[in-house]
């Protein structure tokens, strides 16, 4: 079984690095860690980067997970190979672009680009936000799935994720105590559904609602509260249509042994217990 330790980063192609930077700093509130002509590295916590925009096709999206060490990485490569998932071993140049010691790349059953990385860099400098959004760190991703049951099997049997709850057939899965690190979302093809950053408090979620609305950033869902994780949230659109989420108060699953996933119906109140409705984002409508 492939042991995912943590979520490491998201890499997104950008049609305009300038727009991406302005959104990432003025709206999202991330800190520029490093900038080259072709790539922008953004920080949200003590890691060297958690979001990388590179000049390229916005459909070119990758999620990176950390594994324990190079020997585990080799094991993962062998496992994937045996299952018929072609594996790409990262070249030194590619590793440097990702600020990791080593990585392998493959596609999940839906076709999402996934990388498993070893020794992702941390920064010596404290994280300092670009705006007062209260971000505490990059927390989880929504991943599109063309077959929720098949993909749940992949993440829970080939990898070590556990299902925390389901909405219809859609699984919210954890790799540690945090309620979910991977949230599946129904889609017509591969792609990252949303990128989540945690914020310090409810006040931050609500302040961002007003701040982003004033900046004409499209709010696509919320402010609301997920009945599954308990988290208060806000979803909004960034460059090239990528959806970002702020949330706070994600439950922790303390007892691995006894937790049983709950089943929520596939309907709007399963996604927001306050009554907000999603707009312009693929989610169940009433």
């Amino acid at each position: 079984m492939i042991e995912l330790k943590d979520l490491s980063y998201v890499r997104l192609g950008a049609s305009s690095l300038e727009d991406a930077e302005s959104f990432a700093t003025e709206c999202l509130g991330l800190q520029v860690g490093e900038q080259s002509g072709k790539a922008l590295y953004l920080r949200s916590d003590d890691r060297a980067h958690t979001l990388c925009y590179f000049e390229g096709d916005p459909a070119d999206q990758t999620v990176g997970f950390e594994v324990e060490d190079e020997s585990k990485l080799g094991g993962a490569a062998a496992t994937l190979d045996q299952l018929g998932h072609p594996v790409h071993a990262g070249t030194p140049t590619e590793c440097a672009l990702r600020k990791v010691k080593a990585f392998i790349g493959f596609k999940d059953p839906t076709g999402n680009q996934i990388e498993l990385v070893v020794r992702p860099e941390r920064s010596g400098k404290r994280y300092f936000a670009s705006r007062n959004a209260g971000i505490t760190g990059f927390s989880h991703v929504g991943l599109s799935t063309t077959n929720p049951t098949r993909d749940e099997q992949f993440w829970t049997q080939v990898c070590n994720a556990r299902v925390s709850d389901r909405i219809g057939d859609i699984a919210l899965m954890r790799v540690n105590a945090i309620h979910h690190t991977i949230a599946l979302a129904p889609g017509r093809g591969p792609g990252i559904h949303h990128v989540n950053h945690q914020v310090e408090s409810n006040d931050d979620v609500l302040r961002s609602y007003y701040h982003l609305s004033d900046q004409r950033v499209p709010i696509v869902f919320g402010p609301g509260r997920h009945p599954t994780s308990g988290a208060r949230f806000l979803y909004f659109k960034g460059p090239d249509g990528m959806v970002f989420e702020y949330s706070v108060g994600v439950d922790e699953i303390e007892d691995e042994a006894t937790h049983r996933p709950r089943q929520f119906g596939f309907e709007p109140t399963s996604l927001c217990m306050w009554g907000s409705r999603s707009a312009g984002m693929p989610l169940p409508k009433s």
Partner: protein, 294 residues
């Protein structure tokens, strides 16, 4: 000094609000279907509502009467002393008739006018209900919380509230003055205005979830939200202020802070962010617009 004052303070609680309405049936439907209050069947007032263990906290009085708020006074000697102080300071105060007391469900009342012309009932022994409160809908209401009052003469109105009734000024936003009469940050807020009247009637709800559920509930019913959802910096409360019938504004609030004896009133600048730290702004209600007096 302030500790002494609070032990002598005659004002005990805000016990009810009476709203003069010209179309009580419509207002009554709003009170139950939207606000979620419980109607109280009784012989004296057809449009009487509860929100907690008290017999009533809202009465929709017919339009010939005036709106008022009810403040409970500790006991008879205090009420007598207050009556003398009011007269001495030039405030209009008269004893309520037997019928007026009955319709307010109190044993005795002084009907007072503040300097602005707002009617304040100073009452003794307001009625409690024997029965558990059962709301009309799941709004999460825990009770009548407070009111905003228009003031055309803040200094003079403060004389009534602080010197005579023993309330304390807890904080200010410009000249907007928060007044406490118990352990809560405030129960009455005076807003500079060019008229008499109520700015809003506020009900406490049990959680942030309740405020936000109510936010979407009222939105779905095309009810105008005039301020919020927001967070009041001075008191910490999360609020939602929305339009009711006949120009009355109602509010749900959660998280109103307790105030301790050593707290000194803070002065906030008169701007929108001093009334809501999340960023909501009020466009319709002059008193909530955080601008200098017109």
């Amino acid at each position: 000094m302030s500790a002494e004052l609070s032990s002598r303070s005659p004002a005990e609680q805000l016990c009810y609000v009476r709203l003069a309405v010209s179309q009580p049936q419509i207002a009554a439907a709003f009170a139950t279907e939207i606000l979620g209050l419980q109607h109280v069947p009784n012989e004296l007032e057809p449009f009487l509502f509860r929100s907690d263990e008290r017999y009533h906290t809202l009465c929709l009085a017919d339009g010939t009467q005036r709106s008022s708020i009810g403040i409970e006074i500790t006991d008879e000697p205090e009420l007598d002393r207050v009556a003398k102080d009011l007269t001495r300071n030039g405030f209009s105060a008269r004893e309520a008739t037997t019928e007026e007391c009955a319709k307010r469900f109190v044993r005795r009342a002084l009907i007072v006018e503040d300097a602005t012309g707002n009617e304040i009932d100073l009452v003794l022994r307001p009625a409690r209900s024997g029965r558990r409160y059962f709301p009309s809908r799941d709004a999460g209401i825990t009770g009548l919380q407070g009111v905003g009052l228009c003031s055309t003469a803040i200094k003079d109105d403060l004389e009534l509230w602080t010197a005579i009734l023993g309330a304390r000024v807890t904080d200010r936003v410009g000249e907007v003055t928060y007044l406490g009469i118990d352990q809560k940050h405030h129960r009455v807020v005076l807003y500079p205005s060019d008229r008499a009247g109520l700015v809003y009637v506020s009900y406490d709800v049990e959680s942030l979830d309740a405020v936000m559920q109510n936010n979407y509930f009222v939105q779905e019913r095309q009810i105008k939200i005039v301020h919020g959802p927001g967070r009041e910096p001075a008191s910490g409360q999360i609020f939602l202020r929305f339009a009711g019938p006949e120009g009355y504004v109602f509010s749900y609030g959660y998280g109103l802070r307790d105030i301790d004896a050593r707290h000194r009133p803070q002065q906030f600048t008169l701007e929108a962010s001093s009334l809501c730290e999340w960023g909501s702004e009020c466009t319709d209600i002059a008193e909530l617009q955080a601008t200098e007096a017109r």
